[in-house]
């Protein structure tokens, strides 16, 4: 109780430094609770979404088991947006239904996800593909923006070829299941590791920055208690109480804000992806556990930083002691480097997971190693003739932890930047789409269309030309060649210029046809090629999304499950992972910036005395500013240089893991340029209070 009263009294001190400390701790408590609840909510959200995906997995019938529903999954697209099409054929009276569908649609009718239903409502060309539509419930889709459509086969149609004979939906132990296609989402181990590196570490840094704000009121009490014989354990309790009392209002506010806001959120903050309202609500017990974790984290950091902020006594000592740097500081960083280096020896998805674990170790380890770099440059600097190098060099050598702390955030940012750019580069890298023809584009339809179906498409899209085709590997050169059931005349008509010379495709025509049909080589094999059931059909229509949409609508009217692929489907498209990476990085940068701000405010307050002392010894304001600039630039080079090299190394390894060769040089150059500008601005702005409070000239004595 007495300790609590002392902690309360410390927090109520009117000293400027204590007010800064109180505000920093309260703000940190607010941010920490908000971030942890948000992170827990996202992890729970992914869990809930994965459960919904599991619940709709197709459960395959085993040998001898009665098939209750036949299922065929197809891919389709609209204006570059890919969506899954699942055709259902009930085989029994009460056939099982996928989640989100309460009753089996009428023959030929659709049950579509809310995201797809919204698009259908807004776009007539898409609506033309879907006759008699009902909207699924939220429990059948991963998230509200997912594009998914179920269709019951039309009357008189049956799913024979390549359909899955199923007994129902949902994953079951020991039974073969097939997932319904879903957008790429991060797995739990990588997201947990990323959360550790991009959230927990910068959050800890923010706590360290806030709890390290030293104040006279606090230091005096700790020193007095030590003098009075109060043991270390009780002083630790006081340190924890003092931090928690200051941070508690912020924590409570953070929890209240999340409790009010979360049920109303329809998208993930920073990510922008739609969620079902309520999906981000954290159950009270889980939320409480998360807040307890934050309390424990702050308590641990309060105890760990007690030495620094509590060491200065009621009576100032002549000097703070020489900061020893023990060899354990190297351990996390070396472990991280090892993990990144050996990650390529792991197979499959374990390789990037090991590399990510290595990156997290590097993020954790780098702040511990920065003082080593700072001391390493301080020593030679102090031997350079002149008072400024002497003072700067010795300060860096003697107090490397304190001197490097403000730039920990920048160091982590330049470490993570090349890795993040490499990550984005990999996530965005897709085979580039072939250049299109100026007039025509084709859709590959699999399986091939019958004559009647082709005629039906021609009626719907009069300007379309249809060709049966077969892709084969030609024996002598082992090259893939598309054999088209077409004549030279038909091609001449299509291209609007002579296509053959002496019955053989001209080079120019072959080049244009290769672009239209997205095939490396074309062979014209006359009108009768193969049976439609073993071939593909290429529908060639005018260029553009409207033309493609008309063809797809016509194909949808055939009432047969077919897959149509166009050039638009091959256009490089950003992976959904990119949004996750960017959201994580945004949070990372925000937390680092907050930690940096707290440290700079603290240093500005505590350096006041140093500037005044130097001024009293006769240093001019300009000399003091030069001194601070020299210190800033030296620390910056010592901290940012090795961190950048580390980042480049990890980024390079990351790219090597994925086999990507294009190093994001421009992005990294931009980051380095931004770092250089920051150094110049920082050096220019660095200016301590030199002790002269006002300009004598203006006072008129």
């Amino acid at each position: 109780m007495t300790l609590a009263r002392i902690a309360w009294a410390i927090n109520r001190s009117h000293e400027r430094g204590q007010r800064v400390r109180g505000a920093a701790l309260a703000a940190t408590g607010f941010v920490a609770v908000l971030v942890i609840l948000g992170s827990v909510a996202v992890i729970l959200l992914i869990g809930r979404e994965n459960q919904r995906v599991s619940a709709r997995a197709i459960s395959v019938a085993e040998a001898g088991e009665e098939t209750k529903v036949r299922v065929k999954t197809l891919g389709n697209s609209w204006r570059g947006n890919q969506y899954s099409e699942i055709w259902l054929e009930p085989m029994v009276e009460a056939a099982p239904l996928p989640p989100g569908i309460r009753t089996m649609p009428e023959p030929g009718c659709w049950a579509v996800s809310p995201g797809l239903a919204e698009l259908i409502d807004r776009h007539d060309d898409l609506g033309a593909r879907f006759a008699c539509v009902e909207v699924m419930e939220a429990d059948g889709v991963r998230n509200p923006s997912e594009l998914l459509a179920y269709r019951r086969v039309p009357a008189g149609t049956t799913l024979e070829r390549s359909a899955v004979e199923a007994v129902g939906f949902g994953r079951r132990e020991g039974r073969l299941t097939i997932d319904v296609a879903s957008p790429e989402e991060p797995d739990r181990p990588p997201i947990a590791l990323a959360a550790l590196g991009l959230v927990v570490v910068p959050l800890s840094l923010l706590w360290v920055s806030s709890t390290s704000v030293a104040t006279t009121a606090r230091n005096k009490r700790f020193r007095l208690l030590e003098v009075f014989g109060v043991g270390r354990s009780r002083r630790r309790v006081l340190a924890v109480l003092e931090v928690l009392l200051a941070a508690a209002p912020g924590m409570v506010l953070g929890a209240a804000v999340w409790a009010v806001v979360a049920p109303r959120l329809d998208s993930v903050p920073l990510l922008g992806r739609a969620v079902t309202p309520g999906d981000l609500v954290v159950p009270p017990a889980v939320g409480l556990a998360a807040i307890v974790v934050i309390v424990l984290q702050s308590a641990a950091i309060a105890v760990a930083t007690m030495r620094r902020s509590g060491a200065a006594g009621a009576v100032p000592r002549p000097a703070e002691p020489f900061q020893e740097l023990s060899s354990w500081r190297y351990v996390p960083l070396l472990a991280g480097l090892t993990a990144v280096t050996v990650s390529s020896y792991f197979a499959g998805r374990r390789a990037p997971t090991v590399a990510l674990a290595g990156l997290v170790l590097l993020i954790v380890g780098l702040p511990f190693l920065l003082p080593v770099f700072v001391r390493a440059v301080g020593r030679p600097l102090a031997s350079v003739p002149g008072v400024l190098p002497l003072l700067s060099g010795r300060r860096l050598e003697r107090s490397p932890v304190r001197m490097s702390r403000p730039l920990v955030g920048v160091a982590l940012a330049v470490l993570i930047a090349p890795v993040a750019l490499a990550w984005l580069s990999i996530a965005r890298e897709v085979d580039p789409a072939p250049a299109g023809d100026q007039r025509w584009q084709s859709l590959k339809v699999t399986p091939g269309l019958s004559a009647a179906e082709s005629e039906a498409v021609r009626r719907s899209v009069p300007d379309a030309t249809l060709f049966s085709a077969l892709m084969a590997i030609d024996a002598p050169m082992r090259m893939p060649v598309l054999h088209l059931a077409a004549s030279c005349d038909a091609m001449t008509q299509l291209l609007g210029s002579p296509s053959c010379r002496e019955g053989v495709l001209s080079d120019e025509a072959a080049r244009r046809l290769a672009v239209i049909f997205r095939a490396p080589r074309i062979s014209l094999d006359g009108a009768d090629l193969v049976e439609p059931s073993t071939s593909e059909t290429y529908v060639v229509a005018g260029i553009g999304a409207a033309a493609e949409s008309r063809v797809r609508a016509a194909l949808a009217g055939l009432d047969r499950p077919i897959v149509a692929t166009s050039g638009a489907d091959l256009v490089a498209r950003e992976s959904p992972l990119v949004a996750w990476i960017l959201a994580g990085l945004t949070l990372f940068v925000v937390l680092l910036f907050a930690a940096l701000a707290v440290t700079l405010i603290d240093q500005s307050v505590s350096d006041r005395g140093y500037g005044k002392l130097l001024a009293s010894l006769g240093l001019t304001r300009e000399q003091i500013a030069d001194l601070v600039r020299l210190e800033f630039v030296t620390v910056y080079v010592a901290v940012v240089g090795p961190s950048t090299l580390l980042g480049l190394f990890v980024g390079w390894r990351w790219l090597a893991l994925s086999g990507t060769r294009s190093f994001p040089a421009k992005g990294i150059a931009a980051v380095l340029a931004a770092g250089l500008i920051l150094a110049i601005v920082g050096a220019f702005l660095a200016r301590p209070d030199d002790g002269e409070r006002a300009n004598w000239e203006t006072t008129g004595s």
Partner: protein, 230 residues
Amino acid sequence: MVGQQTGPLVVMNDVVVEVAGRRLLDGASLRLEAGTVASIVGPSGSGKTTLLNCLSGLRPVDRGTVEVLGVRLGGTNEKERAELRRSHIGIVFQFGELLPELTLAENVGLPLILDGNRTWREVVDAWLTQVGLGGRGSEYPDILSGGEVQRVGIARALARRPALVLADEPTGSLDADSATETAALLVKTCRDAGAGLVMVTHDDEVAALADRCLSLRRGALDDRCEHRAS
């Protein structure tokens, strides 16, 4: 800026300084001749440290004039005041205020290093010996006692042989024996060096070491020093 010192060391006329609406100095006047050792006593918060800050050029005055070593501070710029402090004024602080990252020798020699004096080590060795810390120049301040820190502070203040030394409660952090010993060392060293000394103190014994004792009350200085031991 400062020539051969023949006139008074310090001349303050009717100085007024306000801090947060409170008048700390209110018509304070003072004239000290070269080589004078003066002590200033007064209750806590009476403005003694503010007075020293005004004399060192670290704080402007709201009214009145301050002249140090013939230089009127109101007519100088920041660079000239810094030069005045570095070359002609030594300052001793209550807690020594040594730079922890420098050795004792470097702390003492700092004013000389600032001047580009290449023989500073020889000068510093002599000063350290004079304050009883000979041969310990390579040590760092964190292992010193409070009294030793003050000795180094005294050596630093006098290393450049200033005409004026300002001492702000130089024995305030020391026990009684160390306080008297350190104050005596400060006064003797200043006298030996021919420097004037203005020393703020609460200690009657320390105040008694001065040639002249002044009392700061209600913002003004007078020679009726009640604290002075008889």
